[in-house]
Symmetry: C2
């Protein structure tokens, strides 16, 4: 071991921490990067890599869905930064020379479909042979200008404060259920899920949404004279991981209201429901920390969104069960909530 | 073969042509993409993928050189679009979990070194496990503003015109010689190359330059009242391929002056000299098509640059030997020049 640790030994988070030392301080803190430009300070850039076998597989994802999901994973990071507009994306495609054109055509069809839905164009890219199929996508988006030259956004993980309400833009766990149904179409879960839930879950997995509409709603429902301060990120790594990331970056703790977990009602009876809601991942919703009046206005304006808890004074990044109202006692049913995330160097 | 052609059967150029159908017309025409923004029309974005075994190997390239070359390959595309400023780049890193941190640290050190040299910062990125090491880099740069709100650039492949002089910003073939010397340190070429040439060639391969200075010189030496029109691209795929790309996109032919091939003088005696000058690739110089007075001013201002030929009326993209002066007869020594490029789906 004279050559030092491997990436598997470091783990993904320690690797990212070490790589951050090559960038300006704080540059790696959020889902995307704000471009510090003289003329147009409102651009955000984000890069995601999706590798066959880790992020997609022929068993569960058709080519068009690979493209759609790859685009949405990136556009979701733009939404999580507060972007309301997509400029476009570039695509680095690597594939073995034996790959069929029909697969590539399907992937780009899915990418183009997501751009048609959310705006922006295919800006460019590169392609190369390689041992396995993968996509490296870079998306560029813009924050919305506000009246009086004020700039909306960005949304930052570190902009939460104790007392903020935690808002989820939609249900969690459906994508994980969809994956389970695709992996075992005749398994016990398939028997338990009614056809409508089954359809919703598979759709959530194959065709997730990018919540650029949430950033727009944040602007329109902001209470008068409230300065722009929105903590948040997307829930691509799981709901609990998103809340923990906001709490950790904001230097406070978080309480989640167990009765308010953002779950598809038809899924609540499943044994796995709570675990998948908290840690299933790839739901691509936004999790936001907002001043209570703003949170209430957003929830009133955005169907499917809801208050799921609050940020509290306490150990940075610690999640516990508790009611959403200020001053309530911790939930007696439990204490700390375990946070799991994906490991891409297994 | 009911599933249609493979990528190997299509070839890289046909693949790129087909992928271009998913983007706005002309979007894939240049080395990078111009962002069409309201507030800041001067941004350029470019993505390159570098795969182990195809674009780099432990046998010839240390980790820091992999990072430097990866950055420069992208920054060279920004220079080829006319950028004078680097905003930064994002890095998608894929590597097997058994990869050593020291290798990754070396790569990012090389990337950071190139950014320190040419400007810009590491903006962000993503990392994932995978079967082989690769880097997917996206660079963002800016065109320079000119006096009177005029915008300098972009440089476009299609902006050449018959009568333009072809200018090369520096020597070609050195990088290919450097690769040969690294692959066979005790071979016949090593015996033929004197130590200074050997050093220059290996340096050219390991630490190529990004010619952002050329775009700056284009601005300062532009003859008065000459509108901005610069055809060009970089020579990453080889000098002949660059000239052919400009000629093809500009709808004209090209004549190269055999006596003016941009070659390191110490290399001229090598059997491979002309072939490597024309087709060696990875020299990352700029090849430009300029109105004759502008070309002369640039060559006078930029040490190492020179006129290598001209664009002529004729079959689009056809390269022939000929003198650089207008009206001269074709070179009797030869006719068409073969253009070779890299094949990344072999």
């Amino acid at each position: 071991m004279g050559e030092g640790p491997t990436l598997a030994e470091l783990g993904e988070w320690e690797l990212i921490r070490r790589l951050g030392a090559f960038a300006p301080p704080g540059q790696f803190a959020d889902d995307g990067a704000l471009l510090r430009l003289g003329g147009d300070p409102s651009l955000v850039v984000n890069t995601d890599v999706l590798v066959e076998g880790l992020h997609f597989s022929d068993a569960t994802t058709e080519a068009a869905d690979v493209g759609w999901r790859a685009a949405v994973a990136n556009l979701s990071d733009l939404a999580a930064m507060g972007c309301t507009e997509v400029v476009g994306l570039t695509v680095g495609l690597v594939a073995p020379p034996s790959t069929r054109w029909t697969w590539v055509e399907g992937v780009y069809g899915g990418l183009a479909g997501a751009l048609a839905r959310y705006g922006g164009v295919l800006l460019g890219g590169d392609c190369s042979g390689g041992a396995q199929r993968l996509l490296a996508i870079t998306a560029i988006g813009r924050l919305a200008p506000l009246p009086q030259q004020e700039q909306a956004g960005p949304i930052r993980r570190s902009d939460g404060r104790p007392g903020d309400r935690l808002v989820s833009s939609g249900p969690h766990g459906l994508s994980r259920l969809g994956l389970a149904l695709l992996l075992a179409p005749d398994g016990p879960l398939a028997a338990q899920a009614d056809p409508e839930l089954r359809e919703r879950a598979i759709q959530a997995h194959r065709r997730p949404r990018a919540r650029l509409d949430v950033a727009r709603a944040l602007i329109t429902c902001r209470p008068t004279a409230t300065p722009w301060r929105v903590g948040g990120c997307d829930s691509s790594d799981g709901l609990a991981a998103a809340v923990a990331a906001i709490a950790a970056a904001s230097g406070c703790g978080a309480r989640l209201d167990r009765a308010a977990l953002p779950m598809d009602p038809a899924m609540a009876a499943f044994t796995e429901a709570e675990a998948w809601c908290l840690g299933g991942g790839e739901d691509f919703e936004l999790v936001l920390a907002l001043e209570p009046r703003w949170a209430a206005a957003l929830v009133a304006a955005q169907r499917g969104s809801g208050v799921i808890g609050e940020l509290v004074e306490g150990k940075a990044g610690e999640l516990r069960w508790g009611g959403a109202g200020a001053g309530k006692e911790p939930d007696p049913r439990g204490d700390a909530i375990a946070v799991s995330g994906y490991r891409h160097f297994g």
